[in-house]
C-alpha cells in the first residue's frame, strides 16, 4: 500500500511537472510572439498603426473627366498630356500622417476595350504613365514633386502636409467626443498625366485604366 501511495505521488508529481513545463513553454511562446511583433517595429513610431481611427478620402477634382488625349491621327507619334493639364485627384486626411500612394496604369490603351494585345497588334497604343504630387496645401503644379515610376507603376510616401524643414509634428490628436477632423485635416493633390505613342493602329476609340491606391503609412 505504501508502494502504491509512492507510485501515485510520483504520478501526481509527474502530472504537475508536465503542467508546469507546459505552462512555461506556452509562456515563452507568448512572450516571444509579443517580443517579435514589437521588435519588428522598434525602429519607428508608426502613428499610422492607429489610422483606423482617422479617415482618409480620395476624390477627383473634376469627376466627369478622363485623362483624355482627344483626337489623334494614325502614325502621329508621341502625343503627351503635360503636368499642367494633368488629371487631378485630392487626398484629404490628417495632415501629420504619411500616406502611401500607389498608381498602376495599363501599359496599353485598347481599341473598344479589346484587351487582346501583345504589343505588336494594331488595336493597342502604348501608354506611358507619369505622376506627381503636391503636398503644400494648395493645388499648384509648380509645387509638384515627381513620383518614381517603374513599368507604369508610380509610388510615393509623403505627409499630407509637407513639413518642409520643420521637425516632425506631434502625434495626431486622438479621436475624442466632439472631435472635429477638419481642424486636423489637409488636402494633398495627385497629378496623373503621360503620353501615348500612336503608330500604325486601327482607327477607333481606345481606352485604358489607372488605379490609384492610398493608405496611411
Amino acid at each position: 500500500m505504501i508502494n502504491k501511495k509512492k507510485r501515485n505521488n510520483a504520478l501526481l508529481g509527474s502530472a504537475l511537472f508536465i503542467c508546469r513545463t507546459g505552462f512555461l513553454f506556452l509562456l515563452i511562446m507568448v512572450f516571444t510572439t509579443q517580443l517579435s511583433s514589437v521588435s519588428l517595429k522598434a525602429q519607428e513610431i508608426d502613428f499610422g498603426d492607429f489610422s483606423s481611427k482617422y479617415a482618409v478620402t480620395l476624390s477627383e477634382l473634376n469627376p466627369a473627366e478622363d485623362l483624355e488625349f482627344g483626337t489623334v491621327i494614325q502614325n502621329e507619334g508621341v502625343k503627351s498630356i503635360d503636368l499642367v493639364d494633368a488629371k487631378i485627384l485630392m487626398i484629404e486626411g490628417v495632415k501629420y500622417l504619411d500616406v502611401i500612394v500607389d498608381i498602376t496604369a495599363d501599359n496599353y490603351l485598347f481599341l473598344d476595350s479589346d484587351v487582346a494585345c501583345n504589343g505588336t497588334n494594331t488595336n493597342c497604343i502604348p501608354f506611358t504613365l507619369q505622376a506627381a504630387y503636391a503636398n503644400r496645401g494648395s493645388n499648384n503644379t509648380n509645387q509638384a514633386v515627381l513620383m518614381q515610376i517603374a513599368s507604369n507603376v508610380a509610388s510615393a510616401q509623403f505627409p499630407i502636409l509637407a513639413r518642409g524643414n520643420q521637425p516632425p509634428g506631434p502625434p495626431p490628436t486622438p479621436v475624442y467626443e466632439g472631435y472635429n477632423p477638419a481642424l486636423f485635416n489637409e488636402t494633398a493633390y495627385i497629378y496623373i498625366y503621360g503620353s501615348l505613342n500612336v503608330g500604325n493602329v486601327d482607327a477607333g476609340s481606345y481606352s485604358g485604366e489607372i488605379t490609384i491606391t492610398v493608405s496611411y503609412d
Binding site: L11, V30, T33, V56, T71, A105, L109, A203, E209
Partner: protein
C-alpha cells in the same frame, strides 16, 4: 476496504490534477490564439482606399490625297487671251480623291493664285485655281469650294472627291512651256 478507499482517493487526485492541467493548457492555448489574432487584427487595421481613372483617345485615320488625273490645258491658240478649265464641267480638270476617317469633318485650304514659271525662259504666268468637291464620284454635281464652304465631311467610305480647274491670262505670255505647283491642305476639324 481501506486500500480500495486509498486507490479511489489517489485516482480522484489524478483526475483533478489532469483536469487542472487540461484547463491551464486550454486557457493558455486560447490566450495564444488571442495574441495571434490580436497581432493579425492590428496589421489588418491598415485602411486603403482606391479610385480608378480612365484614359482615352480617339484615333482617326490619317488623310491621304490621291491624284487620279492631272489638269490638262491643251495648246493655246495664237491670239487666245485666256485658258479656263471649269472644275465642274471640264474633262481637262484635275481629279483627286481625299481618303480619311468616315464621316469625319475636315477643312480644305489652298492658295487660289499660283505663279507658273517658263521652263525654257524667264516668263511667268499667274494661275487662279478653282476647286469643286463632292461626296459622291460625280463631277457634274460637285460644288465649287469657296472660302465659306470649305468645312466638309468625308462620306461613309471615308472618301471625298475633288476636281481642280482654274484660269490663266495669256495676254502677256511669252511662247513656251510653263509649270508650277499646286498645294491643297486638308486638316481634320
Amino acid at each position: 476496504m481501506l486500500a480500495n478507499y486509498y486507490e479511489l482517493y489517489t485516482a480522484n487526485i489524478k483526475i483533478i490534477a489532469l483536469g487542472i492541467m487540461h484547463r491551464v493548457l486550454s486557457a493558455l492555448f486560447l490566450l495564444l490564439i488571442f495574441c495571434f489574432q490580436n497581432l493579425h487584427a492590428q496589421n489588418g487595421e491598415d485602411q486603403s482606399i482606391s479610385a480608378r481613372v480612365n484614359v482615352s483617345a480617339e484615333v482617326i485615320q490619317s488623310i491621304e490625297l490621291i491624284t487620279i488625273n492631272t489638269m490638262q490645258f491643251g495648246n493655246a491658240q495664237p491670239g487666245q487671251q485666256e485658258i479656263y478649265v471649269n472644275p465642274v464641267t471640264s474633262l481637262n480638270a484635275g481629279y483627286m480623291i481625299a481618303v480619311g476617317t468616315p464621316n469625319a469633318e475636315f477643312r480644305l485650304n489652298y492658295v487660289p493664285e499660283r505663279e507658273l514659271t517658263q521652263i525654257d525662259g524667264d516668263g511667268t504666268l499667274t494661275f487662279t485655281y478653282e476647286i469643286s468637291g463632292n461626296s459622291i464620284e460625280d463631277q457634274s454635281t460637285s460644288e465649287l469650294l469657296e472660302l465659306d464652304n470649305r468645312n466638309i465631311r468625308f462620306n461613309e467610305e471615308g472618301q471625298f472627291f475633288i476636281w481642280v480647274g482654274g484660269r490663266v491670262n495669256l495676254q502677256n505670255a511669252a511662247p513656251g512651256n510653263y509649270e508650277g505647283d499646286f498645294t491643297i491642305e486638308i486638316d481634320y476639324i
